[in-house]
Symmetry: C2
Subunit: 201 residues, 2 copies
Amino acid sequence: MIRVLLADDEHLIRGALASLLALEDDITVVAEAGSGDEALAMGRAHRPDVAVLDLRMPGRDGVSVAARLREEVPECASMIVTSHAGAGALKQALAAGVRGFVPKTVSARRLAEIIRTVHTDGRYVDHELAADAIAAGESPLTPREAEMLSLAEDGAPVAEIASRAALSPGTVRNYLSAAAAKLGAENRHVAARIARERGWL
Amino acid sequence: MIRVLLADDEHLIRGALASLLALEDDITVVAEAGSGDEALAMGRAHRPDVAVLDLRMPGRDGVSVAARLREEVPECASMIVTSHAGAGALKQALAAGVRGFVPKTVSARRLAEIIRTVHTDGRYVDHELAADAIAAGESPLTPREAEMLSLAEDGAPVAEIASRAALSPGTVRNYLSAAAAKLGAENRHVAARIARERGWL
DNA sequence: GAGTCCGCATGACATCTGTCATGCGGACTC
DNA sequence: GAGTCCGCATGACAGATGTCATGCGGACTC
């Protein structure tokens, strides 16, 4: 019997998933959580075999929960279920030791299969998302360029970015300009968006 | 018996909802759709009593489907179910004649209740979202300012916006500057984000 | 060890962007 | 009808932004 922890802030979906998984003979939902922190606490308390985590949750996102669970409950395999994910989230998830990454467009039957796969030390990544990640490729940005872009993400003026990074304004402009050129963007704002979409931040 | 159309691109959730609603004695799911266009076709074919529409769907979003259904199947009440919605979507939905607006954080039982409410000519809007919408208030932007902001949304340079709007670059800058001042933003990029969040675009 | 490449960092310069003062015309009040 | 207000539209100016040429130092090749 596979003991599953279910974490999703959307009550509707969490309940629905629980009742669907209950139909499977070899799967039991031993705990449910509505936030990242709650998921972590439930994981510690129940030590489930598989943690099914939503990516977007209040407090602490699914990837972060997975990373902590890996340390604190090493026998528990984590998998991410998400609504509208980009390739970026997938990369971060795999880096955090997540063993499954699935969009919510799959069917319930398929989800159950994937839970079994993940439980028996297997891995599963949605084909389309994997293709996106491969298409995005490796980041052409240098560490500093990526750092400047992430600071520029919220639209702050260059002066503020410079002071936060303890750099000359000219230097900051230079990195942002280089990043925009590499990404084919017209300015730092679109460059930041592109980099975020491709998981390069 | 209330005949329901269910539209959500996330197969997992759609199936889960269908099986949960099937548990209610007075509700039948007569059709399911995985995209906006499919939802419209199903609505025309089955003429359901209530259409439960996801906001974000490929092809045509829930609000747009609701608007068309209102014309073509007037006896059908539409309601929107959404993951992470802002106040903006709510406004547009109400303008399109939607009778219910619910986040997916509600429970299945509550969803069934709301379907009944909507079916008997009632209305239901999530309290928290309503509060957000009221807090956002009416747009302080003039029509032209809003238009410029929406053109500026994707980060295009002012020159391009000016040519698209057939205006002098100086004029465009002026509107954007005024909009940013009204919104308390430091530049047009953050101004566009704020306006979008509050449903003023 | 010399040569080469690449990332980090900076300042000067040209361009783009935001702010301001100004004018025009429609709507509304009195 | 005069006065006032507000939205639309523009150009001039100052300040912010992006581009370029330059230099430094570590890593890697030969």
